[in-house]
Symmetry: C2
């Protein structure tokens, strides 16, 4: 009987998480009861939103409890089952947590089709990452051909898909990313019209130059100064899509809000938030479209896959905040 190593929350992180905030435990792997099954995780999704789930703060999901396994999306293979829909050998994705084996009753679990893409892609472009880009951009951003779409964290998992979907839509696409290499990647590999290094001097001027007709859609993954600067460059009837605020997830103190928000009035603009979960009934259609674009080569899904074990969770996770990853960040524990 295999053992199950898990990463559990030992205490609430204050600001940037440190190793003592987590405990690595090993126990017997679970066994399925009636209508249950056990998944052996192979790929664990690492996403900025996971940081928020560790705080004891009302949000769209309950906080991870002290002693509980750190919440994470994952894909894996069913290795024991008493559930008709999920027989042994099925490949599935779900919120299986940072652990080797997960017990499930099938709720919110998706069978994945490896003909559509690799397991990592089912966490990325074909998983919640790609779906977040798809629904956020299309349903809230409503980009029209010829409009200017600005996206922050544009070399990240969601941002890289958002930009490419906007390109497919005939938009002028400008990405913000950290460092010249990522910027080069955006323009040369993904075909963005312009990329701006937010770590370099002169970000404001570069943004203004890259968006001469103003910003019609700003897809915001970071918040902070970039959001506040984008507000000063909105085109009339602009739409700001609030997807995340990675700039402040590890902040110790409350982060200042966007002081330029009155631009919404001057520009008759809208700032809206969304959660991908609300679109669950539309996932299959969206996933099929995304898979088609990937198959056609019209979308490239950058990935940073780190081979290791669950104990590598924290240093790997922190790469999201240091910007030391390109595209979707996945911890591969299949080895």
């Amino acid at each position: 009987m295999p053992s199950n190593t898990s990463v559990r929350l030992a205490r609430r992180p204050s600001g940037t998480p440190v190793p003592d905030d987590f405990a690595i435990t090993t126990e017997a792997a679970p066994e399925p009861g009636p209508k249950e099954f056990v998944v052996k995780n192979t790929m664990i999704s690492l996403d900025p939103a996971m940081r928020g789930w560790l705080d004891d703060r009302p949000s769209y999901l309950p906080p991870v409890g002290i002693g509980e396994v750190v919440r994470a999306g994952a894909v894996g293979e069913v290795v024991a089952s008493q559930h008709r829909r999920f027989p042994v050998g099925s490949y599935v994705s779900g919120t299986f947590g940072v652990q080797e084996y997960a017990l499930s009753d099938g709720r919110d679990v998706t069978k994945i089709d490896l003909a559509q893409g690799t397991p990592a892609m089912h966490l990325g472009v074909l998983g919640l990452t790609g779906l977040t880009a798809y629904f956020g951009l299309f349903d809230l951003g409503k980009p029209r051909a010829g409009e200017t779409v600005l996206v922050s964290a544009a070399a990240g998992a969601v941002g890289s898909i958002v930009g490419q979907l906007a390109l497919l839509n005939g938009c002028r696409v400008v990405g913000l990313a950290g460092g010249p290499e990522k910027c080069r990647y955006l323009t040369e590999e993904l075909g963005f019209h312009a990329a701006i290094d937010y770590k370099a001097d002169g970000m404001r001027r570069a943004m203004a130059e890259a968006c001469p007709d103003g910003i019609d859609v700003y897809f915001d993954n970071v918040g902070g100064t970039i959001l506040n600067t984008a507000l000063t460059m909105l085109a009339m009837h602009a739409r700001i899509v609030v997807c995340g605020a990675v700039a402040q997830y590890n902040a110790d103190a409350p982060t200042p809000g966007p002081s330029n928000y009155l631009a919404l009035l001057v520009r008759r603009a809208t700032m809206s938030g969304f959660l991908v979960f609300d679109y669950a009934s539309e996932y299959p259609v969206a996933r099929r479209r995304l898979a088609g674009w990937v198959a056609d080569g019209r979308i490239t899904a950058p990935e940073t896959i780190v081979a290791g074990s669950v104990s590598d969770f924290l240093p790997t996770f922190m790469r999201l905040f240091s910007g030391d990853n390109l595209g979707k960040l996945v911890l591969d524990i299949s080895g």
Copy 2:
């Protein structure tokens, strides 16, 4: 030939305007050229937005230039005319400025119907004030019966109309106002379900108690702390209508933005700005509906009418920021 006394901008105010920011000049009243007419102002509209027009900052209207007459809406009577559509004796409203006589070519001028309401009402509930409430609430707020509508500056010109329109729509209406008298006015005279004194202690708790199911629509006239607090109490799919930010119009330093804006994401909510001018083609229908509700007694339009001359502009205008007015503030220079 009559003389025309005007209030002109002498220099840009820094923070709260002071008398030396303005110059009072007297010259000969204008005479109409071809296709022009002259209006003798009787009522001058005083609105928080006028403060913003005095700053040299890009906005939805060009700043008032140094030496120019202070921009203001007004109503008056045509006293000389070479314009067919506006003969002598017509009553009109337009952006005639803080002066006794205005020259006009008829652009953006509306003939008013004194059978629908008094001249002051044509600046208030039947003018841009009422239209701002109408389009902001209905087009952006989209209130449904049974929903909770929170409005700030609720005893002010726009807020008092917004609240009553929401009541007509079957909503639970909660107003924020400064001081117990205004709060009593909102609940006892206008029929609001609850009123909260934002100057008293415990505003947050009072808001939470008055909105037990969360806020579906927040109509924001003030910005600042109240906006930031309202963000923490949004119901799912809430709509925030950004109409103004009187709390910061006289601020010397940049005012902090709404640090709780990520509530938009958690609550799948929207914050939108608008300007009433965009709805100009729909003014006649809206004005007719508002006039009908006023005639039926379903809407009460509170007014503070101050009798005086154009030289009383500044002290009267400042009552908007001290909160020393109820409803629409008008300077009556007809006497």
